[in-house]
């Protein structure tokens, strides 16, 4: 079970991120994850390419983006960026062309069928206005980690210092 849980820690929760565009946010998150050794050097270039072809912005009360790809990842993880000012992500649903996103969730998924519950918990939680607002207003990395741990259940593993 342990190796399929999405791991996160305080280094993977980025608050008050300032970025000019989605690429910068994804790269900032990617650097943190790569430093942990959870992904190899191909992950981020492939992810950036994928995001342009098949965007992952999702329209919710406060739009979110969930960049992810398969492969090039050894430890499943979740890394989060909370931005001061939104950047534009393409709309996955294709209803609008772009969404102004302040919450970016970078996922490392290694066994989707075994990880379906945590993904379900994630979507259920972060399509709710109150949880989105909680995360947007979060004051510390550790509080962010605790919030995720509360909302995501057993499929998520918070590592505290």
């Amino acid at each position: 079970m342990s190796n399929i849980r999405l791991r996160s820690d305080e280094d993977l929760i980025l608050l008050h991120v300032k970025a000019d565009d989605r690429r910068q946010v994804i790269e900032a998150l990617g650097r943190r994850v790569e430093a942990k050794g959870y992904i190899n050097e191909r992950f981020i270039p492939r992810l950036l390419e994928r995001e342009e072809a098949f965007p992952t912005g999702i329209e919710t009360a406060y739009p979110i983006a969930i960049p992810h790809i398969g492969g090039d990842c050894t430890q499943p993880f979740l890394a989060v960026a909370v931005l001061d000012e939104p950047v534009m992500f393409g709309d996955m649903g294709g209803v609008k062309s772009e969404l102004a996103v302040r919450l970016v969730f970078l996922f490392g998924i290694t066994a989707p069928e075994d990880q379906v519950q945590v993904l379900k918990n994630f979507m259920a939680a972060f399509t709710m206005r109150e949880h989105l607002e909680s995360l947007l207003g979060i004051e510390s990395e550790i509080a962010g980690l605790e919030l995720l741990e509360t909302l995501l259940g057993d499929g998520f593993e918070a590592v505290y210092r």
């Binding site: 072809a53 790809i69 996955m92 989707p112 993904l119 399509t127």
Partner: protein, 100 residues
């Protein structure tokens, strides 16, 4: 037995979510089914399916090489319009099965 292919950009996150929920919907409606994941890039060339559900940028008004109907499943990701989607899906599946 209805054969459904679920496709998103990476064939991972939303595909997994949507596949899981479609299975639940069809189980509840007591419809025998087989749901397989795919990537959006594969959608145009899929020939062995009755229905394709996509979450992502893919013209749902277009059909693929085998003329398999394509519907949008984003409602199962965001949860908005989920009930309507379930009703539509069951209706569509029954239509398709009626034809065969």
């Amino acid at each position: 037995m209805i054969k459904i292919v679920v496709a998103c950009g990476g064939g991972i996150f939303t595909t997994t979510l949507v596949t899981d929920q479609i299975k639940e919907i069809l189980k509840k409606a007591k419809i025998a089914h087989k749901v397989t994941p795919a990537k959006l890039t594969e959608v145009a060339s899929i020939s062995d399916a009755d229905l394709i559900v996509v979450t992502g940028k893919f013209g749902t008004d277009t059909k693929n090489v085998a003329n398999i109907p394509i519907i949008a499943g984003i409602a199962l990701v965001t949860g908005v319009g989920k009930e309507e989607f379930a009703d539509d899906l069951v209706k569509k599946v029954k239509e398709l099965e009626g034809v065969e």
